[in-house]
Symmetry: none
């Protein structure tokens, strides 16, 4: 049997709970969504606990699980994921840290761990401290939102098992120490980075201006959460497929790049409510011509969920349905199409929740069950049953005739 | 989202199999149970394998699993559970043993492992041997039913990994030996307890009378099944909830106390067919005012199952339904209510069986599926699917908005 291509569409946070004020329906139950329902009618459905029962998934851990990586194993420290989110490439030999800009005194006591929650100027500060060479290690530093940033060390002989520089509360800046033999170099380099960057930051015009304005200067960088991607087998190797992603939001793009997918920038794909659904659908179809596995993340449902906005979430469902209809119209019936969510973001909660998400798989060698609608409840009586996030890729590989045989 | 309270009602052994003579219905299918059915209609349902597929749960292991403890991990030896059942407090540093009163000769050969299944006088014998101090360890001994009893060692430096004194058949009384370095003290203390208690028992009036009556004297105590609670994290810490229980039967009360729940004595809650259902419902509602999690066990269904009495079991269903109706009338809709069983006790088997049990979750952030009746078959098409006993608490935590997020 020839191996089939796979299209995985993840509707970020679209899964929900019944809402009292709207006839106890979920947004998926309330929306008109002929394409999603057609997919369910022509495939098999079920529910999925992305990480596990009663575990609220983050967007990062959720996507790792959906791609078949056990987040409890590969999630060594937040550093690489934050770096991915900030758009910094992290390769498997690198060590990445989350960082704060902080305010310290002359004796390196932390006066404010967030430098007054500094909002502007961090881009200039980051440019001033990135690109050092310490021993034979090169450093990349990039600002994140507000007082946040990421530090990536690139070189040989690095190990992420070092303690934090950030004391996590006011007090003396800590000296990073190796937690295992072999991590000494990494600790030395990060300590040296902290020293050198503090010297640079202390005289930087952005900080001089802040002091003049009576604001706490961002005169130190405090790394923490060291992590590496050593345990993360590149996705193309893991599945023997050429994988690509269409995503708007930086964190998701970062994770896709981190696992080794091709992630083109799609004009109009913003990761917001204003995203160009049509452009995403077209981009996915185009990538399917040259790739075996294409992943699409549509963020808007999560945004509406966080806003607690039922009506907008219903409109998001209908927009995604339009995109899906466009894709299904032009897609080869051999392509395995999976539609699901990375987690629930109920409008009644305005946050991620632990509720399982709906899942439908259609096309390729898929069976067909009796489920006629794509929503949280209808899919639960489907032939897929209740599975885990890390089960999805193996199941898709099976339906796409890409699974491996065990035994004779 | 504000965290919700949780009420878990466990109908002990109520789950059953179809009974030929009663139109191939189960007691749950045959009973009138408007409150249970209403709960199912307003929530999500499924089936649950308490321990695992094809494992017949005991009441002890079942309740541990329902409270989220892996019984294979925390069930070190029966000692602590027997002690809990006998109403003896066991703390985390203690080591507890199950014991038999036995008849031995002068050379410590076991003549009768059960001292003629002694029925009376063990309370007096227990009083005579409890409260020793051996090295710096104090001992608590309490009689159980018939020839049974429990021994709890309280002190520092104890370890439950010691061999049994009880030879498990007629023969020489064994000397307890440490199975790991560090358990020597425990072995010494239990051996000394066996020696000293035999001396006391040999001259005790209860035994003199037994010999006069031609009965075998209960002149030795044989400990076995040493266990500790070291691995059992207190339930309030585990979930960050204040937990309480309403239960009539001693073993279940003991397990609830063992995991750290508040277990008030409810007048009229007997653990038998004559239990005061209304009193239990009222007690549960009152405990919900001051606790986050309230567990209710109603034993009567198990009793009717062991008796093989279909008609009585149907009446038990209807009595529990009355209690549930009373509770649901007065409960806040925000409270998450879960209704299930700890195991099946089919009237056709008269014993526990491995059949999965029905489960319905309603209220709080619960979804609503299409299940309309609470019985073994109707719930199986529900949106919860088929879960394990240890999944229940995480799922309830999710529905009650008490779950933790993993990732960002």
């Amino acid at each position: 049997m020839a191996a089939k291509k796979i299209l995985l569409i993840v509707c970020d946070g679209l899964s929900d709970r019944p809402v009292k004020e709207f006839d106890r329906k979920t947004p998926l139950q309330a929306a008109r969504k002929p394409a999603m329902d057609a997919l369910a009618r022509h495939g098999i459905s079920g529910t999925m606990d992305i990480i596990g029962h009663g575990v609220i998934p983050g967007s990062d851990t959720a996507h790792l699980a959906l791609f078949g990586y056990d987040p409890y194993k590969v999630y060594t420290g937040r550093g690489p994921i934050e770096a991915a989110g900030a758009g910094v490439d992290v390769s498997r030999d690198d060590v990445a840290f989350r960082c704060n800009f902080a305010t310290v005194d002359d004796s390196f006591n932390v006066l404010d761990r967030r430098a007054g929650r500094i909002k502007t100027g961090t881009g200039e500060l980051a440019k001033a401290v990135t690109g050092m060479t310490i021993e034979d290690v090169s450093t990349v530093f990039k600002e994140g939102s507000e007082h946040r940033g990421v530090l990536v060390l690139k070189g040989v002989g690095l190990d992420h098992r070092v303690t934090d520089v950030d004391p996590h509360h006011e007090g003396k800046v800590l000296v990073s120490r190796p937690m295992v033999p072999g991590a000494e170099k990494t600790a030395r380099v990060v300590n040296e980075f902290v020293k050198r960057s503090a010297t640079i930051l202390s005289t930087h015009p952005v900080n001089k201006k802040r002091v003049e304005d009576g604001l706490p200067p961002a005169n130190a960088i405090l790394p923490r959460g060291a992590g590496s991607l050593k345990e993360l087998e590149p996705i193309n190797d893991l599945y023997g497929m050429k994988c690509a992603a269409v995503a708007g939001v930086t964190l998701v793009k970062g994770i896709c790049r981190m696992v080794g997918m091709t992630v083109p920038d799609v004009p109009g794909a913003t990761g917001g409510l204003d995203t160009d659904y049509r452009a995403k659908g077209v981009a996915a179809l185009r990538l399917l011509e040259t790739h075996d596995f294409v992943f699409v993340n549509v963020k808007a449902g999560d945004v509406a969920g966080h806003d607690g906005d039922f009506r907008t979430k219903v409109r998001v469902v209908e927009s995604i349905d339009m995109m899906l209809g466009l894709v299904l119209k032009d897609i080869h019936e051999d392509v395995v199409v999976a539609l699901t969510c990375d987690h629930s973001t109920p409008v009644s909660v305005k946050e991620h929740s632990a509720d399982p998400v709906p899942l439908t798989i259609s096309g390729g060698g898929s069976r067909v069950d009796g489920v006629k609608e794509f929503d949280e409840i209808s899919v639960a009586s489907g032939a897929l049953g209740r599975i885990r996030g890390t089960d999805l890729m193996p199941i898709l590989m099976g339906v796409a005739d890409r699974a491996r045989k065990f035994g004779a």
